[in-house]
């Protein structure tokens, strides 16, 4: 049976007439969903519609958005990265450990390597990238399913953080400069630098994915990795770069969080990999066909923000978060599918 003819029987989705791509359509669709969800929240939750609250919606999830970038790119190629939470924890802990004063105290947890902050940060990021490289080795070279590998490296990364902090955290003998970037705000505003970093990264990522050659490669691999290979794309190399990039982004997040709390905590960022996946899926990133954009992911992050802050506003216990995240993702997947199938009409 000729594969060609078998595929010929599949219905093509998407518009026959409009010029808008499926991806743009879905992003717009999710923006509409966002407005809908926001509307419901504004009606149901007391004091929801406050300017401060709105700003918070955009800014609260900054760490999810940053790691969401890497997760989105990988998801477009059909891969998962569940190690981002562990890498955040690891990088944070390492950044503390590397620049804690050496031989300052009897307490083991108060002694580090005494390196200057900048060096500590650089080294910590390198370690993060190392984890990314490990992921890439298993997935791109050994062709092991990414879900299993990254769940393993997640444990490895977080595990190392736990060893270094003996299961708790390191937060003493830090140089003063340590707390700067995590707590600094843009002068005359309450917007943290971290949020600014998020916005810049999203912007850069968007330009990257839409307008650069390497960004295009992600979509080619996601659309048809065999055709990509036959068209000269170095698939293994590209996937490796994506895994390292994802780990680097997680590392940056770890540095910022560690700085904000002036501590390297081994159980930081638990569950962030789920959140990153959730916002990507909410944003319309499809694991099956090379479709999805960081812009969509950003919209997804705002949707998630609205949902979680609405639930807090309604005084629901934090335990509700899990069900909400799961349900919202499920609804989004079905809604997106429905929208695409009925687009022709």
């Amino acid at each position: 049976m000729n594969v060609d003819t078998k595929l010929m029987q599949k219905k093509p989705t998407g518009s026959r007439m409009g010029k808008m791509s499926n991806e743009t359509f879905i992003t717009l669709f999710m923006i509409v969903m966002l407005i809908l969800v926001f509307g419901i929240a504004a009606l149901v939750v007391p004091n929801f519609y406050l300017p401060q609250n709105m700003l918070n919606l955009l800014a609260n999830n900054w760490f999810i958005v940053i790691v969401g970038i890497g997760v989105t790119f990988l998801l477009v190629t059909g891969n998962f990265d569940m190690s981002v939470g562990g890498v955040i924890a690891l990088t944070g802990v390492l950044s503390v450990y590397f620049c804690q004063g050496a031989n300052v105290s009897q307490n083991v947890l108060a002694n580090g390597l005494g390196l200057p902050y900048g060096v500590a940060v650089a080294l910590a990021l390198l370690c993060a990238m190392g984890v990314g490289g490990l992921n890439a080795f298993f997935v791109a070279r050994l062709k092991v399913p990414s879900i299993i590998v990254t769940l393993g490296t997640a444990m490895l990364a977080r595990g190392i953080a736990q060893v270094i902090t003996q299961g708790a955290q390191r937060n003493t003998s830090l140089p003063d400069v340590f707390g700067f970037i995590g707590t600094m705000a843009i002068p005359a505003t309450t917007i943290k630098i971290s949020v600014l970093v998020m916005l810049i990264l999203v912007f850069v990522a968007f330009i990257f994915e839409k307008k650069t050659v390497p960004g295009r490669r992600t979509y080619l691999i996601g659309a048809n990795s065999e055709a990509a290979r036959l068209s000269g794309v170095k698939v293994t190399r590209h996937l490796t770069s994506l895994f390292i990039l994802s780990a680097l982004l997680a590392g940056i997040t770890g540095i910022l969080l560690a700085s904000e709390f002036k501590a390297g905590v081994s159980n930081r960022a638990t569950g962030y990999e789920f959140d990153a996946l959730v916002v990507a899926l909410l944003g319309g990133v499809s694991i099956n066909g090379g479709r999805g954009s960081v812009l969509g992911m950003f919209v997804g992050a705002i949707i998630l923000s609205v949902v979680t802050s609405a639930s807090t506003g309604l005084l629901l216990s934090p335990d509700w978060q899990f069900i909400l995240k799961g349900s919202v993702t499920f609804i989004a997947i079905l809604a997106q599918r429905f929208a695409l199938e009925h687009r022709k009409v």
């Binding site: 003819t5 065999e226 036959l230 000269g232």
Partner: protein, 496 residues
């Protein structure tokens, strides 16, 4: 009721696809307990016809009578239940199961879910045993060769009392001795009231094995007659090819120029010690049947598959990988355009520049205006029928999709362009447009390699013709008026 003389009667069968009528008013009979061969060139409509018999396609109009009764299968499972089994080229066996498990798959006898060894099961195993005693029931199928897997499939069809077994190019991937065994098996099937519909390009096999032969061409039924009444191969060939033999080939005026590609003792799992040269501006055609090794050769040159031997391009040894091949100046239009050549969910505009992004980008940034311009240019140049370059490639017809893939490769500015089955599933108009482009490229000094199972295409276009059979190069000849298409067919079907 007496069994009808004809096990199948096909009446006015038509199958339409958007833009093309693949099967055009076909009518013929297949007699019970015969080996009925189906021949025709690529695109003649054979596979579409078979797919309607097996339930993979629904017919557009017409009737099929099976054992005298209306037959309208809704699925391949339906067809199997009505007694029609098919052996495709992709084997439908589960490698991880044993022979016995495969034979009984879907037909098990159980007590409370436990698999039982009943008489029925034993009978099936004994059918397998009588067909091919060397295959042990407990063997894992993954340890079997292709020929053996075929036999397992045949045994299953027999054991489930199929009265029609369709075989699609069964000898493509098996050795001489295995072919002989297969034929013995087919003959004994016939003795046992099974009708075999046998599709093959290898005309010798038709004469050796067949009772009847049906020739199709361009979707139409040309003739059905007893093999004994066919005089010789050329009669069949003439029916397959039709009145218009070939467009006259215009021989190249200049002599062969510089050598661009040298292939030296190329061998791998499929290919046997191939060596040849290609020159600037030369169009070299590789002709052979299914399984001859055409695609394998293209993939080896392109660096997709591993090989032993050397390939020298423009004086430098080629490193085996597609990106290095492209960088050196080689491009491949792959055999399966949807799964290998095209990014079906991306737009036409996104598909075309893929092999040469440098040209539409600066410092890594894609110049959107230039990208659009390139897309428009190629849509124009190749006359791709589309209202907009923003359309998803999935929505184009086969011929237009092929043009997009071709555009992609043309944009790569390759000095050596390889095309694997360039006009398969492409309509006549697009076909001649593609040929014109190939000739144009050759005039510009590019070397072209064409891998095709359509003889007219090869003879029409190529300066040099290489004949492949079973992984070996059997002949290499200059094209010209002395080319004897019969002699060619003789060689590619295994003659000397």
């Amino acid at each position: 009721m007496q069994p009808t003389e004809n096990v199948l009667e096909i009446r006015d069968l038509v199958k339409d696809f958007p833009g093309v009528r693949a099967v055009n008013d076909v009518s013929f009979d297949i007699k019970r307990s015969t080996v009925h061969c189906l021949v025709g060139e690529n695109g003649a409509g054979k596979s579409t016809l078979i797919k309607m018999l097996t339930g993979a396609y629904a017919r557009t109009s017409g009737r099929i009578l099976l054992n005298g009764e209306e037959y309208s299968p809704r699925s391949t499972r339906d067809a199997r239940q009505r007694g029609i089994s098919t052996l495709f080229q992709e084997l439908n066996v589960v490698d991880q199961l044993t022979v016995e498990e495969n034979l009984t798959l879907g037909l098990e006898d159980t007590t409370f879910g436990f698999l039982r060894k009943t008489d029925k099961i034993n009978k099936m195993v004994s059918v397998m045993n009588s067909i091919e005693p060397s295959i042990k029931p407990r063997q894992q199928v993954s340890t079997l060769s292709v020929a053996q897997k075929q036999i397992v499939e045949i045994a299953k069809a027999v054991a489930t009392e199929s009265n029609i077994i369709i075989m699609d190019e069964p000898t493509a991937a098996i050795s001489e001795s295995e072919i002989a065994r297969l034929f013995t098996l087919i003959r004994s099937l016939r003795e046992n009231n099974v009708t075999v519909i046998y599709i093959s390009h290898r005309l010798d096999e038709i004469f050796e094995l067949g009772d009847y032969v049906t020739v199709m061409r361009d979707g139409k039924h040309i003739d059905t007659k007893p093999v004994s009444q066919v005089h010789d191969r050329s009669e069949l060939i003439k029916m397959m090819i039709g009145k218009t033999v070939f467009e006259q080939y215009t021989p190249r005026a200049e002599e062969a120029k510089k050598t661009t590609l040298e292939v030296k003792h190329l061998s791998n799992h499929k290919l046997n010690d191939l060596s040849f040269d290609v020159h600037e501006g030369e169009i070299v055609g590789f002709y052979g049947l299914v399984g001859a090794g055409k695609t394998e050769l293209a993939r080896a040159i392109y660096g997709v598959d591993t090989y032993e031997g050397d390939i020298v391009f423009k004086g430098r040894k080629l490193q085996p990988s597609p990106d290095k091949a492209i960088a050196a100046g080689i491009a491949l239009v792959p055999e399966e355009r949807r799964s290998q050549g095209l990014f079906t969910i991306l737009t036409i505009r996104a598909n075309i520049p893929v092999m040469n992004m440098k040209k539409i980008s600066r410092g890594g940034f894609i110049d959107a205006a230039q990208e659009k311009q390139v897309a428009d240019e190629y849509v124009d140049k190749l006359r791709i029928a589309t209202s907009s370059t923003e359309k998803e490639a999935a929505q184009l017809s086969g011929g237009n999709q092929q043009k997009v893939v071709l555009s992609k490769c043309l944009f790569a500015d390759a000095d050596l362009l390889m095309l694997d089955e360039p006009t398969r599933g492409v309509d006549v108009g697009a076909k001649s447009e593609i040929y014109a482009i190939i000739r144009q490229l050759s005039a510009e000094g590019k070397s072209i390699l064409i891998f095709s199972s359509e003889l007219p295409e090869i003879v029409n276009l190529c300066d040099t013709i290489c004949l492949l059979y079973d992984g070996s190069m059997k002949a290499m000849m200059r094209n010209g008026p002395e080319i004897d298409s019969e002699k060619i067919l003789h060689i590619v079907t295994g003659g000397e």
